[in-house]
């Protein structure tokens, strides 16, 4: 397994947000994590990436225990993510945002002092520009990221996450706020990324999107796994319907 969480628990105050949750992700898999609002989906991502320390349980990445590894070292192990509310660095240009994510591939003090700003000749800058061009975003390369429209920022965030050359990519609501055409383009982009062998874990509410992209769905409610199945079987599951729609009323 490329990513595994074992009986992970997390409480905030007295509230148990994640409760003994175990999920395994196979290499090259496309797993969706779904559930009603407040089910703990983003918290799972935050625990995996080290935003919060876990209360109990283990996180294994490619067989290595990373539970106690400081958050900033996790991306170096091949784990990158995007954010539910886009979080680009507003005062950096688009290309600089992408270049930030290259750092974990060649970290260290010497790399920090390496000039990367001179024209197109620099290897890292050229690579970032090529990645933006591939995503059709080259025209925005030198714009400050904070000034761009939502849809564009969302695409930039994906290019940035990929610049770290991750083996596992966590996507937090990648299709949220996108129109039909943008969602289709995102689907194509993620298919291409998955074909390169990147494992995808997706938190998403758009079930049509999930159905096309993912091979397996894990359903969370109140921090517990209530179902695990193929996307097409999800509607048949009584617990899932109950979680989303409430308990069915029986006709008198």
């Amino acid at each position: 397994m490329v990513l595994e969480i074992r009986s992970l628990s997390k409480s905030f105050g007295g509230l148990k947000v994640i409760d003994a949750l175990s999920i395994g992700v196979e290499r090259g898999e496309r797993l969706a994590l779904i559930g009603p609002n407040g089910a703990g989906k983003t918290t799972v991502f935050n625990l995996i990436t080290g935003v919060y320390p876990v209360d109990a349980g283990k996180i294994l990445l490619e067989g290595n225990d990373i539970t106690a590894l400081p958050s900033r070292y996790r991306i170096r192990r091949g784990l990158a993510r995007t954010f539910q509310n886009i979080r680009l660095m507003a005062h950096l240009t688009v290309i600089e945002n992408v270049m930030i994510a290259q750092y974990p591939r060649a970290p260290g003090a010497a790399a920090m002092l390496q000039p990367v700003g001179f024209g197109r000749a620099n290897r890292w800058r050229a690579e970032a520009r090529a990645a933006l061009a591939e995503a059709g975003l080259e025209a925005y390369a030198d714009e400050p990221a904070g000034a761009l429209p939502y849809g564009i920022q969302k695409r930039v965030e994906l290019v940035r996450a990929l610049a770290a050359a991750p083996r596992v990519l966590l996507l937090d609501e990648p299709a949220a706020g996108l129109n039909a055409a943008e969602t289709e383009a995102l689907h194509q982009a993620l298919e291409a990324i998955a074909r390169r062998g990147v494992t995808l874990v997706v938190v998403e509410h758009d079930m049509q999107f999930v159905g096309r992209l993912c091979s397996r769905v894990v359903v969370l409610n109140f921090g517990c796994k209530i179902a695990e199945c193929a996307p097409r079987d999800i509607h048949a599951d009584g617990k899932v319907r109950e979680a989303y729609l409430g308990a069915e009323e029986h006709a008198a």
């Binding site: 990436t49 996790r74 979080r87 005062h91 990367v116 400050p144 000034a147």
Partner: protein, 271 residues
Amino acid sequence: MSGYLESVLVLLAINIILAYAAFLPMVAGQLNLGVAAFVAIGAYSAGYLSNSFGLHPVPAALMAVAIAALTGWLVAFPILRTRGIYLALATFALNQVVQGTILNLNVVGGASGYPVPAHIGFPVVAAFSLAVIVLVFLAFRTRFGISVTAVSDDERVADLMGLSVRGVQSAAFTAGAALAGLAGALYAHHFNYIEAQNYGVLFSIYIVLYVLLGGTQTVYGPLLGAAVFTLLPELLRGSAAWRYVIFACLIIAIMSLRPQGVILKRAWFSK
């Protein structure tokens, strides 16, 4: 060159270094109101080294830079535990501590000031200032330059992108302290007399003001801010007593018209 013109140019050269001393931490999201503390440390260290050990003023200045940088690096540990307004207040307090300490140090003259006879002339001051400009411009073309802005924009994401947030913040604070120390050392050896009373918080606030006025989005901003702050009061000399009033009104006018500073990144103009 007339003595007057030369002394204005020396002040300009030193003020440019000071502007970058405040700019480096500011880009990393730190409002450092203790810049004058590091200026004082640089000025007094350089003066003491050349007075008491007969060191040539240039190596004395370089050693003073090292002392200011080391002090900056050490105080960065407690100071960077604070954020925002608390960080500004912590640096404010640091300024008071350093100024108060020097005022009580009789070995460097205490409250009566400290003469530093060894002289550094205008060409050397100008050369240092140019070197600082070139170094800062180069630094902002490296990964460090991108990282400093990244850290101030979003610490959490910068961390998740693999950056050492504390390392970058501490480097920016330390580099700022080093530049402030350099400005102090050059001032001491050019004007040959220093007084701890001058290195109060008000002086720190003036430096921060140039940088905010010039703009913190690009490396050109502090250059412009330092030039305006040095030259404008001189140009207003005609109106004698009122010149600082006019100057202050101009600052308020510029700040209200362009709160992000005069020089902005290209795309922000259209907003």
